[in-house]
Amino acid sequence: MFVGAAGCGDPDQRMLSEGARAARDAASEISTARLAAQSLLDHKLWSRPAGQMVSDAEKSLGKVVSKFDELQPETEQSRKTYDQISGALSDAEDNVTELRIALGNNDLSTVTKQVDQLRQTGEQLHRLGELAK
């Protein structure tokens, strides 16, 4: 509650808080997409449900990105945080879109590459998600 109240007043803290929340939400979608794609590669999932799950993750990720993009950085420090988080979210969105396209084209070698890429992107987002409560 105290941290939340502090976040309301200080623009840097507020940006950090919102950024960390967005990073955690994005990491959740990235991990879902990766798990679905990995399950497809392990022959545990058909391509349609896998594609649907990745597509759902892409849509949810889009909502996270657009919600974060609407924020207004008010100081130099908050602008730095904004750019850092925004860049990571944008990369994540691109990766999931690439994965969705590869799944749609049944291009399993690209799916394998994207699963590895998503692991790295997910780790980066997890780190950003720990910047604030």
Binding site: M1, R21, R24, D25, A27, S28, S31, T32, L35, A36, S39, H43, K44, L45, W46, R48, P49, G51, Q52, M53, D56, A57, S60, H126, G129, K133
Partner: protein, 409 residues
């Protein structure tokens, strides 16, 4: 032997029919965010629905009259109308969520957008209600819902650290980035999901449809006291699957695909196929029950001819109410509102409306004029009053918590 088979069938139907879209989504969501740290709420909710359903079943079996007819007579038109509006709106919201759930299950299996499946799902609900016997629809979808036991099998196959799960269940507090406010908000949501009012309207109205008498009390009690707790175990296995797979990965459940994915990870394509049929049966069965409950509550309150024990022509207003509710469900979902979000809200609103439907039944179950020797005993009343207090607290806290947590975000 025939009676034993009947009782067993009733229990199996109660287990399979216990889980609906609210239980599926809320348990998976809570499991992914809190592990089993809210498992005690499921236990609390299951005991609550047992108390609530037993009283309603007994009222119907002894009086031979439907619940809302008695509520209007015992509490007067105005108070009865208040209870009717609250319960009807919550049941309608649940119907919208269930129709959306059926459409989402088809979307997951086929890749075709749920908006295209949704009118078909609503039409199928109407057709089944119109054409199929009450006992058949109750039994078939209840038994098919048993396929959701696949979550328990998946949990075992995921080889969880049972000690850790037990540790979570015995440490009821939020962890990580979760606050006490979100913990309390989802506690209310889980409570609402376990004690959804339509389950009781359907159960008790079914008693009138099947002409229960005091001789059926043993059967109804066995359905409630064995079937519902076993259904609660199904709910816990859904939460546990999410706790094992998603909590360590930081995944928050917000789609039906995520609810079903643990079965694929644990059991492969067969697991996914079984869970999709189970989800379809659970949501479609619940859509039938909620559509019927919409008709039951209104028909019983206004004293119309109602139910499936009479021909549709003789209960035309009852059928028109259901058709209007199904049409409203289609229109609401066509706005492209997320059915999972509708589900999340429906369970919280269910918790909010519960005292309005629970209290009248508690009053009637204590009235010797209606119940004679079968009125509530002292022990049951003690438990029932504790639950009334819990329901009031949940009802009052729901909206402030919804605002503070921005609906659990």
């Amino acid at each position: 032997v025939k009676k034993l088979l009947g009782v067993t069938l009733g229990i199996l139907t109660a287990i399979g029919g216990f889980v609906d879209i609210g239980d599926l989504v809320t348990n998976a969501l809570v499991g992914s965010r809190f592990g089993l740290r809210l498992a005690w709420i499921v236990v609390l909710g299951v005991i609550g629905i047992c108390v609530y359903a037993e009283m309603s079943g007994r009222v119907v079996a002894i009086s031979g009259r439907p619940v809302f007819d008695l509520i209007r007579e015992r509490l007067g038109r105005r108070t009865g109308l208040f209870a009717l509006i609250a319960s009807f709106l919550v049941t309608l919201l649940t119907l919208i969520a269930e129709i959306g759930g059926v459409a989402l299950a088809f979307e997951l299996a086929s890749g075709v957008n749920y908006l295209l499946w949704m009118p078909l799902a609503a039409f199928a609900v109407w057709l089944v209600i119109w054409r199929v016997k009450f006992s058949s629809l109750e039994t078939v979808f209840g038994l098919l819902g048993l396929l959701l036991i696949v979550f328990a099998v998946a949990l075992w196959k995921l080889s969880p650290d049972w000690g850790q799960l037990l540790n979570q269940a015995t440490n009821p507090h939020p962890t990580g980035h979760e606050s006490w406010a979100t913990y309390a908000y989802y506690a209310i949501a889980l409570f609402g999901a376990a004690m959804t009012p339509y389950e009781v309207f359907f159960f008790s109205s079914g008693g009138v449809e099947e002409k229960w008498t005091s001789k059926d009390l043993v059967t109804t009690r066995s359905n409630v006291f064995i079937g519902f707790p076993l259904g609660g175990l199904l709910s816990l296995s859904i939460a546990a699957c999410a706790a094992v797979l998603y909590l360590p990965a930081g995944i928050k459940v917000d789609t039906l695909g995520q609810v079903t994915l643990p079965t694929a990870v644990a059991l492969g394509k067969v697991g996914l196929a079984i869970v999709l049929i189970g989800v379809f049966a659970a949501t479609f069965g619940a859509a039938l029950e909620t559509a019927l409950s919409c008709g039951y509550t209104i028909g019983q309150y206004f004293g119309w001819q109602w139910g499936k024990f009479v021909r549709p022509r003789e209960a035309s207003r009852f059928h028109v109410v259901m058709m209007i509710c199904l049409a409203l469900s289609i229109l609401t979902l066509l706005t492209a509102v997320d059915p999972v979000k509708v589900t999340e809200y429906s369970v919280v609103f269910a918790a909010m409306a519960l005292p309005l439907t629970y209290l009248p039944i508690l009053i009637i179950a204590n009235d010797p004029d209606y119940m004679g020797d079968h009125k509530n005993g002292a022990v049951l009343n003690f438990v029932a009053l504790i639950y009334l207090g819990l329901l009031l607290v949940a009802s009052i806290a729901a909206i402030p918590l919804m605002i503070i947590t921005r609906a659990g975000q």
